[in-house]
C-alpha cells in the first residue's frame, strides 16, 4: 500500500518519539530542549538527543513539522497543517484502541 505523507507507521522505533514531538508542538513552536522538557512533563519520558533528532529529521522530511529561523542556534520547530492532520488521525486511532481495551477490561 502506498505510504501516506501523514502516516507515522513507517517511522519504526521513532514512531513514539515522533508522536510525542507532534503533541509537544501542538500548543506552539518549541526548540529541541523545550520539547524534551515538555515531553518529560507530559509523558514522563526524557528522550536523548539522538532519538529526539532522529524523529525530528523524519518529521521534517515528511513535512509534518517545519523549522523556523532564529537568531541563535536553538531553532524552534512548528507543526504544519499536514502535521496537525497526522496528529489528529493518530490520536483518534489511539482513542478507539483505548476504548476497546477499556471495554474488554471492564467485561473481563
Amino acid at each position: 500500500m502506498a505510504r501516506q505523507d501523514d502516516d507515522l507507521d513507517d517511522f519504526g522505533r521513532f514512531a513514539e518519539p515522533a508522536l510525542m514531538i507532534l503533541i509537544s508542538l501542538a500548543d506552539g513552536p518549541k526548540h529541541g530542549y523545550a520539547m524534551t522538557d515538555d515531553i518529560e512533563q507530559v509523558a514522563g519520558v526524557r528522550f536523548g538527543p539522538g532519538t529526539l533528532y532522529g524523529a525530528i529529521t523524519r518529521l521534517e522530511g515528511r513535512g509534518l513539522i517545519q523549522r523556523l529561523e532564529s537568531d541563535d542556534r536553538r531553532n524552534p520547530y512548528r507543526l504544519t497543517a499536514l502535521g496537525e492532520r497526522a496528529l489528529r488521525a493518530r490520536l483518534t486511532s489511539l482513542q478507539a484502541i483505548t476504548r476497546v481495551g477499556q471495554r474488554r477490561l471492564a467485561s473481563a
Binding site: G50, T51, G54, T57, R58, Q66
Partner: protein, 175 residues
C-alpha cells in the same frame, strides 16, 4: 560529549549539529546519552535518505503553500530512497545486482570446480548475490557519499557476512 557528533554524516551535522551541540552544552558525560547519540549516528548512516528528505523539505515551500498537483509530483519524484535518488539510479542499482550476481557466480563456479568441492567454497555460494546487493547501494542509500565511505561500507559489510557464512560453514562441517 559533543565529540560524538563527529560520528554523524556531515550533511546531518550541518543541519542539526548546532542545535544538538547547544542541547549538550555544559552537560556532564552520561553513558545513556552517549549510547543514544551513537545509536542515532548509526541510524543516520543507515538511512541517508531521511536526512536528504529533511534538507529537501527545508528547501521547498511548506505543505500549506503547495498545490495538490505539485505535492503529487514531488511525492512521485521522492521515490523509495528519498529525493536524491532518481529512477535512473534505481535502474542502475537493479541492473548492477543482476549483472554482478551472474558474473560473480560464474567466477565462484570456476573456483568451486578448481578447488574440488572445498566446503568453504560451498559456504560462499550466496556471496555473489550478497556482494552485488551491497554494491548496488552506491546508487541508492550510499549515493552522494565519498568514495572511501562507500568502499568501507560495502567492503565491510561484505567481509562481515562472508566471515559469518564461513564460520557457520566450518561449524556445520566440523562439529
Amino acid at each position: 560529549m559533543t565529540f560524538l557528533l563527529r560520528l554523524y554524516p556531515s550533511a546531518w551535522r550541518r543541519r542539526y549539529g548546532g542545535e544538538v551541540r547547544e542541547m549538550l552544552a555544559g552537560r556532564r558525560f552520561s553513558l545513556r546519552i552517549a549510547v543514544d547519540l551513537i545509536a542515532g549516528a548509526i541510524d543516520t548512516w543507515l538511512h541517508p535518505s531521511v536526512t536528504l528528505a529533511a534538507a529537501a523539505a527545508a528547501a521547498r515551500p511548506t505543505p500549506e503553500e503547495q498545490t495538490m498537483l505539485s505535492r503529487l509530483l514531488r511525492f512521485d519524484c521522492a521515490g523509495l530512497y528519498g529525493p536524491g535518488v532518481t529512477r535512473a539510479d534505481q535502474w542502475k542499482a537493479s541492473i548492477s545486482v543482476v549483472v554482478m550476481t551472474v558474473v560473480l557466480t560464474i567466477a565462484w563456479w570456476g573456483l568451486h570446480l578448481r578447488l574440488h568441492d572445498d566446503p568453504r567454497m560451498d559456504s560462499l555460494s550466496l556471496m555473489p548475490f550478497v556482494f552485488a546487493l551491497f554494491y548496488s547501494m552506491r546508487y541508492t542509500y550510499l549515493k552522494g557519499r565519498p568514495a572511501i565511505v562507500q568502499a568501507v561500507f560495502i567492503g565491510g559489510l561484505t567481509l562481515l557476512v562472508a566471515a559469518v557464512v564461513l564460520a557457520v560453514g566450518w561449524a556445520t562441517t566440523t562439529l
